[in-house]
């Protein structure tokens, strides 16, 4: 036995390491790594970085990418605040219908996104229940504007924040809050200096997941967006348009651009998390 194989076979009380690792790697390769690899290969080797840049570096593509990321970012910020509040209410309070609300949070996960998109459009269209009120009372148009896109993205991203923050809130001891209060801290100070720092890493993870989901969202957005080029045209639609032109390379180029931006954003969020963990100690 060489030292290297010994190092791989550290004694563990859990059986089946080799087998489960093998299954995990195979499945991950089939489902995620190989398709991603093919996408990148097709883009960089088959089409070429320069050609890809030419496809992406156009006002219309930039405006679609900017819209997708801007709307996703704003929607995820909203989800960050609203999701933490929702999780807090669900964990800390008892009220009638709590179980129903708890279950309802998961609905955006289960619903086909096209159904969500059609439902949201029906409600927020100028003749819809909310849409007509908003239009008549405030002159705000929701459906077929960026606001509509934003609402659809809030809808699909909400469960991510709630479900990542909820278990952390469940583990937070009320005693730390009580200790903070007995030491003379105000409610606000307790919230900002004791509770929120403990929730921050989980909330950040939820934010990152919601963002990642919202950036690539197609089904629910397409019905409410209006899809006007340079105005409400999202990047995933532009990819579909390239496919409709049988321009596989163009579609791959825009997809890789989205992938790179998303990857950079997620990396940045992870670094912030690492930094905040180091500052706050292990949470």
């Amino acid at each position: 036995m060489t030292a290297r194989s010994l190092a791989l076979r550290t004694p563990t009380p859990m059986p089946g390491w080799g087998l489960s690792f093998g299954i995990m790697l195979t499945m991950l390769s089939i489902v995620v790594l190989v398709p991603m690899g093919v996408l990148l290969w097709r883009g960089f080797i088959g089409f070429g970085a320069g050609a890809m840049w030419e496809v992406v570096n156009r006002p219309r593509v930039w405006s679609a990418l900017a819209l997708s990321f801007r709307a996703a970012f704003v929607a995820s910020l909203f989800n960050l605040v609203f999701g933490v509040v929702l999780a807090w209410v669900l964990v800390r309070y008892r009220f009638p219908g709590k179980r129903i609300i708890d279950a309802a949070v998961d609905l955006p996960f289960a619903l086909p996104t096209a159904v969500a998109g059609i439902a949201l459009t029906a409600i927020y269209a100028p003749n819809g229940v909310f849409g007509s009120v908003l239009a008549d009372a405030f002159g705000i148009r929701v459906a077929y504007t960026e606001l509509g896109i934003w609402i659809a993205l809030v809808f699909v991203g909400l469960p991510f924040v709630v479900r990542t923050v909820q278990p952390v809130i469940e583990e937070v001891d009320r005693e730390t809050e009580e200790a903070s209060a007995t030491l003379g801290a105000s409610r606000l100070r307790t919230l900002t200096h004791v509770v929120l720092p403990m929730l921050a890493p989980a909330a950040m993870t939820g934010f990152a997941l919601a963002l990642a989901r919202a950036v690539g969202e197609y089904g629910s957005v397409i019905f409410i967006a209006g899809n006007l080029p340079n105005v409400t045209e999202i990047a995933p639609l532009l990819i579909v348009i390239r496919l409709e032109e049988f321009d596989y390379d163009g579609a791959v180029a825009i997809a890789i651009a989205m992938l790179s931006i998303s990857f950079t954003l997620l990396l940045a969020i992870n670094l912030i998390q690492v930094w905040s963990r180091r500052r706050m100690g292990a949470v």
């Binding site: 219309r60 029906a122 077929y144 209006g226 006007l228 496919l243 409709e244 049988f246």
Partner: protein, 378 residues
């Protein structure tokens, strides 16, 4: 006496009765082959659909476990586009009966529906269709160009440019036509909202665009400016024709919907004749949804079936069926005169007037084409 038996939920056979088995099943002689099955009883549409769904689910599960015995019937997959759903549901039933009446075993016909371009890509990428019935000749051209499944001269192989039925583009306006829309030039007026899908993602929208273009050419207007002015009045670009119909009819947006003639009639009958009116413009397009054999997926066994499937689309019965589904078919001999009479006469420009799809597609709808330029200028 001839009996029809069900061999499986999808497969029926017809033939002379040989024997009634004690368990109620029948043994028949179907074109020289002995087939055993339950007496066929048509079930009302609604129950049949969920029964078929359950049967399909069970079949799917069992076929994973045991290798299912080879279905005796010849399978045929027709890859089509969205608005033909109702028509091909009728046609498949009629054709299966006709085919078995010719002394053939009952075929197993399936139809797949989706956006025309997406369906063409699916065939290019390997969907094993025997026939394609798509919205645009350019979609079938793409299959021919990007694979060796379909010969380049496919369009000359069947009558009428391989289009058994045609359609055109008309206007759907709100009841009473409050904005007084009569022709294409009314659509570029200030304050008129036009609903049409995105020509980049919808085949029907390309016809809308070309019809407006053709009108401008006919009337000595600058077609590019005319079409640009029209799209300035478009508040929403849905991705497909059905989406636009929904936006116009259900969401109440817009004053006029540019629609396939058959979609417009469908909207009238589904949503109420008292809500909308159909306005026929002076000039429109001769839309020819073509059909073709996918030669690359044909074998000696299924070639006669697939060939007959397309050829029978031109039979008087099938043509009458197309007319009933609001398509303009060629042969009216077996049709209900009322179905024929409802189509008004109008000048319909064929795609050849625009230079043919091979020229039109890249020039107008390709990346950086005229449609892109209209929005680039904004």
């Amino acid at each position: 006496m001839i009996h029809t038996v069900s061999v499986s939920p999808y497969v029926q056979a017809q033939g002379m009765l040989i024997e009634r088995l004690p368990d109620g099943r029948l043994l028949i002689d179907a074109g020289g082959r002995k087939v055993i099955g339950r007496p066929f009883r048509p079930v009302p549409q609604k129950t049949r659909r969920w029964k078929a769904a359950i049967a399909a689910a069970i079949f799917g599960l069992t076929s994973l476990v045991v290798a299912a015995p080879q279905a005796s019937a010849e399978p045929l997959l027709n890859v089509s586009y969205d608005p033909t759903r109702e028509f091909y549901r009728d046609y498949n039933t009629w054709f299966a009966n006709w085919w078995t009446a010719q002394g053939n075993p009952a075929p197993q016909i399936k139809t797949s529906h989706g956006g025309s371009g997406a369906q063409a890509r699916a065939v290019i990428d390997g969907l094993a269709a025997q026939v394609v019935t798509l919205a645009l000749a350019s979609d079938i051209d793409q299959i021919a160009a990007r694979s060796d499944l379909i010969p380049k001269d496919w369009q000359s192989r069947l009558p009428h440019n391989s289009s058994p039925y045609t359609s055109t583009i008309v206007f759907l306006v709100r009841e009473g036509n409050p904005k007084g829309i009569k022709d294409w030039n009314d659509l570029i007026a200030e304050g008129v909202q036009v609903i049409t899908p995105n020509p980049k993602t919808s085949g029907g929208a390309r016809w809308n665009y070309l019809a407006a273009w053709g009108y401008a050419e006919r009337n000595k207007l600058n077609p590019q400016d005319f079409v640009a002015a029209l799209y300035r009045n478009v508040p929403v670009l849905d991705t497909g024709a059905r989406g636009s119909t929904t936006t116009f009819a259900q969401r109440g947006l817009g004053d006029v919907l540019l629609a396939w003639e058959n979609e417009a009639y469908l909207a009238l009958s589904e949503l109420g004749e008292d809500k909308f009116d159909i306005v026929v413009p002076s000039v429109s397009v001769l839309a020819e949804p073509p059909v073709a054999l996918v030669e690359g997926h044909l074998t000696d066994a299924n070639r006669p079936l697939a060939t007959a499937y397309l050829e029978q689309l031109y039979s008087p019965e099938a043509q009458a069926m197309a007319l009933r589904h609001y398509y303009r078919a060629w042969d009216t001999s077996a049709a209900d005169p009322a179905d024929v009479a409802r189509f008004p006469e109008l000048e319909r420009l064929p795609i050849a007037d625009f230079g043919g799809w091979a020229e039109v597609q890249p020039k107008h709808f390709g990346d950086g084409g005229i449609f892109d330029q209209i929005y680039q200028g904004k």
